[in-house]
Symmetry: C2
Subunit: 218 residues, 2 copies
């Protein structure tokens, strides 16, 4: 009576949760949702999905309890759910990097050409010393919703023609959405090619926020 039936039910429940993360598009949606609240339309655009398709994936994520929603006028805003969702996604990424050679290569690829990463701890230290320039290479809208304290915002594709805005002589730390966002790595490559000293932040904005560190909004 207490036996295996109950265990079966429990494992089936947990499996449902795992399956909710078991699709590339949903993981991408999660990654974007992790940046902050986003409308369905926006998320569909960011993930390159049709509206209806994005909506369905998002609803599945909501049923699984990975995201939550709120209505704002005629839009529905999705956000990460309350529970320990970010740690779960992080654990998943960690194992993926550890196991799959191809994921590791692809991630390493964005670190190639001498693009070293800086850890949160080291960055905090450097921020305390005021010896570093923070560069947020995400689009303005994302920057406006929250960014690291004191960061400059120059979206990736504008960086080349706005290089002059960056003060010389200090190291620059670029960051982006997350470990799989290539913008920051590209930015670092570009900066180095132009004589700057630059590194990328190991993780990205969502991990920073998830760690409970200070965030500034426009």
């Amino acid at each position: 009576m207490t036996g295996p039936d109950i265990q079966n039910r429990i494992f089936a429940e947990i499996a449902e949760l795992a399956r909710a993360m078991g699709h590339g598009h949903r993981l991408m949606l999660l990654e974007h949702v992790a940046q902050g609240e986003r409308s369905v339309e926006r998320l569909a655009e960011l993930a390159g999905l049709s509206l209806a398709n994005a909506s369905q994936h998002l609803q599945l994520l909501r049923r699984a309890g990975l995201v939550g929603t709120r209505r704002d006028g005629k839009r529905v805003l999705y956000r990460l759910a309350d529970g320990p969702v970010a740690p779960l996604l992080a654990a998943l990424r960690h194992l993926a990097e550890h196991n799959r050679a191809d994921v590791r290569e692809l991630v390493a690829g964005s670190r190639q050409a001498g693009v070293e990463a800086i850890s949160r701890e080291e960055l905090l230290e450097r921020m305390r010393e005021n010896s570093v320039i923070l560069l947020d290479v995400r689009p303005q809208e994302e920057f406006a919703l929250g960014h690291l304290p004191g960061a400059l915002n120059i979206p990736g594709r504008e960086l080349e023609r706005r290089l002059a805005e960056l003060p010389a002589g200090q190291e620059i730390v670029a960051y982006c959405r997350g470990p799989y966002c290539v913008f920051s790595a590209e930015a670092v490559a570009l900066l180095r090619a132009n004589g700057f000293e630059a590194r990328k932040l190991e993780a990205g904005f969502p991990d920073w926020k998830a760690a409970g560190l200070a965030v500034e909004a426009a």
Copy 2:
């Protein structure tokens, strides 16, 4: 060129990993594999699956990099993979407990009837004081492969008729395979009904081992 294609590929890879955990039977197999090396036949029996079915699930887990194998004579032994698999499973369980009311209830159900859980930290403290009896309620074979230092082994279904072996006067901490293994909760209920002071270990043997704490083998 660096764009969304690469991200799509990465997320698809990671999703594959998540999907590997997306089936109740596979989670159950993982739970048993987490106890130590097991043959396919044994795992099939433990999970209540046909041999071929278990074999296929296990192979899928291996392809996903969640388990590894080794040949021993004519048997193939499965074990957890090297990477951070246990933390991922733990994160998954945590979120499941947090989100799904039914999982929480089912887990709570095994704690009902005043069955309180003791944390690893508290248990370590009590072990240092020598003020506690450890009771491993798993089957002998599992006990033989590794158990908490100094633990007694009385499999769940034998407990009732072997109560006399337990010294009175000291609190008993029962443990089992993991948080969803009901044997330890049942054991605690039985012990209390017979006048013992008893609690169950919050997690189970695999978590103990995963935490790097001392383990003893027969």
